[in-house]
Every structure is written in structure tokens, then in C-alpha cells.
Symmetry: C2
Subunit: 395 residues, 2 copies
């Protein structure tokens, strides 16, 4: 017998597997080139050449006992120093290695943060639409998820509702900008409002509320868009970063946390995060990947490819009459479904061999997410299918 | 404010840090060569040359999008096939890739297993002395730890007490052979007795009790000692393996779980483990390390160095009159303290610049663990200090 908590996941898995199998069935029947899979957030551009070079150099240069051995659970000190210096240069912050904890990706980092701060029953606020895994991470520690709806059509958080939802039990707020699934970048004004509300509510309740900024898409922005660095706006900010998208390394599980000096209970918090990294079973972020990213801190994957895809898809779907949110970052297009039920739309799209993800997976029914981290050619090939879909809905 | 559960860890951390600082203080005062640190289980022999070669080949041969991309949460299918084939060849088992889940080391694997099966209040039995992290892993899922004492002086589990401690709430039993901290290999007779008792108790209570075999030291055995493969003795066995010691890759976090077809609820269990790997934040084992170990499955680090250290230290301490358990595997020597309180002995040893770990860290007071994964020269240099320690206790 598996754990009771896991039963719903196992049942849910079979649904996902069924969808995946359906995709494979379509591809087998109609050919790979005639099925348009926009469902996965898996980078389609390779890591920059510097990643391979760094790995090759490291293997040849670094003493294998140091390279592959245990280190502090928070990571190699020299790597943490390099990450801090790079952030300071980019954002004018003043972090030291003590503010940086290397993690097994942002998923690992978020679990480390939540383990460190959440008591059972504590509330964690997230702004819909959001990455559905947050629900699972918060449930890992028996926290309670509180959902704040978006302003429409901007898809900035609704700060008025946000303020109302904060209670004495609110322990953390998760933000994700550039956002999965909308592609929206939260404006500086939004960040300032969130910070102001949090400061006010902390004082009102005599509590500490940590603002957890999940930033795997920070580097993926277009048209020179600025993404405010959150620690500069609110002292109880914890940043969870990942190199999965910026360096196209999702399978290698490498990221970091930033816990600034000015965060309340900084000493206990960094110590708790160090312990949590260990006892959750991560122990430390993979050593060779720590050393690799430290040598590629100023690099990113070729973002112009995503930008090309973004423009192609956005312009086409807009011209077809779909209601699209213009993506400013990440690699997702967020589209209003012309029918009320997004699953109905997803199923209809599948008839035209278009694989999309329903907005309800992101706690926001009535929309779909189209991941454009795919071959540009596939996007072009998919246009006829989108045309048929638009025609079906009389757009 | 950090989570209430984390407070004791943060307090405990400061004790460990104080010990670590004390070691550094001693080294600074007396010189590195005059402080004998036997406290860490960090491999002192490098990975075999094949590891560097494999990594280098992989970086140059494998498409970087495949090499560094997401894959199934359970790992690359070809890697899992290779691991299964290697186990089948070594142990006459008949695993397929579906029985193998690649994990972020054995620490990750154990957390995945416990997340998959433990409901709050479920009991997990471990045989003292054992790796203290098991307590934390079980606490992660609100399980309750039940400790069975060893037979002395063999340090095989006391199967009579074991049988008494099994209740309706017993959900898992963790074994670790070759054992940290004793170096003992559980005999085939012990394994058979454990299996027989578990079968009987499962039937008596109508429950399922999983035997979780934590095997980071499987390859580290001496004098041709055989380590029985546990799945062959008890069908509800789950193996948690790590390459940390066998390939000296502890910082890279790579291992796997084996869940055999014949385990009860095999389908739900493997599905739950796959989901747990994802939602605990591991997502998957680091990709390049999966591919690397798949090319080094028949390799190990140079174990003769540990064997040399083992003999040197065991013979010396025995000749000095210390009560030593002869290590058959792993890289630890388990020594009875000549005074009742092991912390008193550890502190006295420190006066002679010997850094040891008290048995109470392994739920077994009255002993110390001496890790001999160190420079052979350091062992020789430490003999004078051990002589003084023996003289102090009039051995």
C-alpha cells in the first residue's frame, strides 16, 4: 500500500500518461511532422558552447577528489562567491557567498525554502495562473495554498484581492516573473505594491512573510524588457533561481537560493536551508554542475530563437482572432479559449493534432498555454491546424 | 521565523559547526599533519579513470539537448536498461528498466521511498547502530522510528527483539549492509531470519512491510566477503543504491532504486516513486551522471587502498587493547570505548588530536566510529596518538 497522500498523484499520473500516449498514438498514425506538440516547457535551444568547454576544462583541470567529493551542503564556496559577485555586478546588490545556497534546480530550492519556514497549516499565497507544482511543494510540508486571481487582461496580480487574502497564518508568497504560463513580466509598480502590502501586513500582524521569487525565466525576456530584482524592493525576499532555461540544463538540476542579510532571522534561515538541503535528500547540488555554471555566469542560450518563435506564433494567432497575451518573457503564449471550458478546447485542438495545456492546470480556467520552445519549422507547419481551429470556433 | 520542526536542527547544527571549528582550530595551532581527522565518510580514493573518460566522451558525443534536457522523472530509459542488465548479470535477477528509478544519490532514493509509502504515524524499524540521517528522513514524512539493538559482539541485528518490535503500524524496515558505522556485513542467515519474520508478521497483521536496503557500501567488501542480494530473499524489498562510494562520486548525487515486479502494489509503488522524485523537487537524477555511471557499471574505485587502511588500523588498535569489530566492508572501524560515555572518550581523543564520531550519533552509546577513508600516511602518523589514548585508559 502506498501512502494515502500519494494516491491522488498516482491517479493523476495515469491521466497525464493517457494524454502522452494519445500524443504518441497521433504521431504514429499521422507522422511526427503532422503532430504539433506545444505542451512541454523543455528548452529547444542547446546550451551555449561555453558550457561544453567549461565541463571539458573542469574534467581535465580539477582534482577529481575535489571535483566529485562532498562539500558544504550549501555548495562550493568559490562557486557561491562567483554567483554572488555576478548578481552584485548585474543588480547592484551586495551579496556574499553566505547569501547563496546552491540547489538541485529551482524545484529543489523551493522545497528547501518551504521546508525551512512552513509549519503545518501555514498559508502560502500564489498568484494565478501559476505553475501547478507549487501546490505539491506546499503540500509536502502540510502548508495551505491560497490563490489570488489575476487582473485581466494584463495578468498582473490583483493586489487588492492579495491584500484581503493575507492573514496571520500567511508565511510565504510565491511569485514567478517572467511568468509561466502567461509570459508576463510583473511590472515594477506591481512589485512595489506587493512589497508595500507585505510590509503593512507584517506590521499589522507582527509576523514575517517571506516573498519567494521563483526565477527560472529571468534571462528569457524580449524587446529589452527589465525584470526588477526583487530583493531590492522587499527585505524578506528569497530568490530561487535555476539554470534550466537560461543555460538549457534542465536535466542537470542546478540552481541556487539567495537569502539576503536583511531577511528576518537570516542566521537561522540560512542554517535551516543548509540543513533542509541535506535532510530532504539533496545533500548538495551536483558538484560538476556547480563548477560549470560558475564558469558560464554571463552566458545564456540563444534567446533570439525563442523570440522568433514568439513573434511568429503571437502574430499568427492574433491574426486568426485568438485572444492572446503578448509574451514579454519565458517561452509561453497564453491564449483565451473561445469556449468556456478549456479542456473542451484542448480536446478540440487535439483533433487538429495540436497538443496544448489547459489553463486549469495553472489554476486559471478559460485559457491554454502554448509552449513555443519548439522547432520554428513546427510552428510554421502548425499554422494550417490553428486556422482550422479558428474556423471551427467561427473566429 | 523558521519552521518549528527545523529549530532542533538549527541548534544541532551549531554543535556540529563547533566541532568542525574545533578541528580547524587544532589544525591551525598544531599543523594539518598533526591532527588526525577520522570523522568524515568522504571517499579518499579518486573515481576510476573510466569515469573521466566516460564524461569526456559523453560531452563530445551526445547531442546536448538530449544530454542536458529533461527526461522521464525516473531517468533515461537506456541508463535504466543498462543498470538492470548489470544487476541481472551480477545477481541472477531478472529486472527490466521498469524496476529501476534513477535518484539523486541514496539519500534522495530513501526520501523517495519513504514519501511513497509512509503515512503519518507509520513505524519504520532500523537496526542500531545506524546512519543517524534515517531519523531525519523518516521525520520528513511524520513516520515514527523504532530502534532494534544489535547482538553484541557480532553487531548482527537482534532478530528476536526485531520480531517483538513489529506492529500493525510497521510499514518499513531499513537495513544497511555493509554497515555504517560497524563495517559488518549482515550474514545470509540474518537476512533469511529477517525475511522469515517479515513474512510471518505480514500474514499475522494482513499488512505490507517493505524492507528498504540502503546499499552505498555494497561494492566495498574485503577478503572476498559475499553480500547477499536482498530482493532474492524477500519480495517486498526495495533497494536504494548510490555510486557515492563505489565510484567515489558523492558530490554528484547519483544512485538508483530497485522496485522488483514481485513487490506488493508494484504498479502503484513505482508510479508513486516516480511522482515523489518529481514533487520532492529532485525532478530527476542529474542527467550527465546517469549517462556516466551507465558506462562504468562494472567499475569501482581502488578498494585495495581502503583494505590497506583497514588492516593497518584494525591491527594497531587491537594490539593496543581496544575492543574492535573486524570490518568486513565499508570504510569504518567500530571501537568500544573503554569508558561508559562515548562523548567523554571522543573529547579525550581530541586532546590527542584524534577526531572521532561518538556511537551515540548512530543510536549506540559506548562506541566510536573511525572512518579510514583517509591517507594511509595519516593513519601511520596517528598511531602515537592512539598509543597515548590507550595509555590514558590503562589498556
Amino acid at each position: 500500500m502506498i501512502a494515502r497522500k500519494m494516491i491522488k498523484y498516482v491517479e493523476g499520473s495515469s491521466v497525464i500518461r493517457a494524454m502522452f500516449e494519445e500524443g504518441k498514438r497521433l504521431a504514429a498514425k499521422y507522422g511526427d511532422l503532422n503532430v504539433y506538440d506545444f505542451s512541454l516547457g523543455n528548452p529547444s535551444t542547446p546550451p551555449p558552447a561555453s558550457v561544453r568547454q567549461a565541463m571539458s576544462d573542469i574534467i581535465n583541470e580539477v582534482n577529481p577528489l575535489k571535483l566529485h567529493g562532498y562539500m558544504n551542503n550549501s555548495g562550493h564556496e568559490d562557486v557561491r562567491m562567483a554567483v554572488a559577485a555576478s548578481l552584485n555586478k548585474k543588480f547592484g546588490t551586495s551579496f556574499s557567498y553566505k547569501n547563496i545556497i546552491m540547489t538541485v534546480g529551482a524545484a529543489g530550492g523551493l522545497n528547501v525554502v518551504l521546508k525551512s519556514i512552513i509549519d503545518p497549516g501555514d498559508e502560502v499565497i500564489a498568484f494565478a495562473p501559476y505553475f501547478g507544482e507549487y501546490n505539491n511543494y506546499v503540500a509536502n510540508f502540510d502548508g495551505s495554498m491560497v490563490i489570488v486571481p489575476p487582473c485581466i487582461p494584463s495578468f498582473q496580480p490583483d493586489t487588492r484581492v492579495f491584500e484581503e487574502k493575507i492573514t496571520k497564518l500567511t508565511k510565504a508568497v510565491i511569485i514567478n516573473t517572467p511568468n509561466n504560463p502567461t509570459g508576463v513580466v510583473y511590472s515594477e509598480d506591481t512589485i512595489k505594491q506587493i512589497a508595500q502590502i507585505l510590509n503593512k501586513k507584517q506590521e499589522e500582524y507582527g509576523t514575517q512573510i517571506y516573498l519567494v521569487s521563483d526565477e527560472p525565466y529571468r534571462e528569457l525576456v524580449y524587446d529589452g524588457k527589465e525584470v526588477p530584482y526583487i530583493t531590492k524592493y522587499y527585505k524578506n525576499t528569497i530568490v530561487s533561481y535555476s539554470y534550466s532555461k537560461s543555460l538549457s540544463l534542465p536535466g542537470e538540476r542546478i540552481g541556487y537560493l539567495v537569502i539576503p542579510d536583511e531577511a528576518d532571522d537570516y542566521e537561522s534561515l540560512t542554517c535551516a536551508a543548509n540543513v533542509a538541503n541535506r535532510i530532504l535528500g539533496f545533500v548538495n547540488a551536483p558538484s560538476i554542475m556547480q563548477l560549470t555554471v560558475a564558469r558560464c555566469l554571463e552566458e545564456t542560450t540563444d534567446i533570439t530563437i525563442y523570440d522568433t518563435n514568439r513573434k511568429l506564433l503571437y502574430n499568427k494567432l492574433k491574426s486568426l482572432g485568438f485572444g492572446c497575451t503578448e509574451p514579454e518573457g519565458a517561452f509561453y503564449l497564453w491564449v483565451k479559449t473561445p469556449c468556456e471550458n478549456d479542456m473542451e478546447f484542448v480536446n478540440k485542438a487535439k483533433e487538429f493534432h495540436l497538443l496544448l495545456v489547459p489553463g486549469s492546470s495553472f489554476m486559471c480556467n478559460g485559457y491554454v498555454r502554448i509552449a513555443y520552445c519548439v522547432d520554428t519549422d513546427m510552428i510554421k507547419r502548425s499554422f494550417a491546424a490553428f486556422e482550422k481551429l479558428a474556423a471551427y470556433y467561427n473566429l
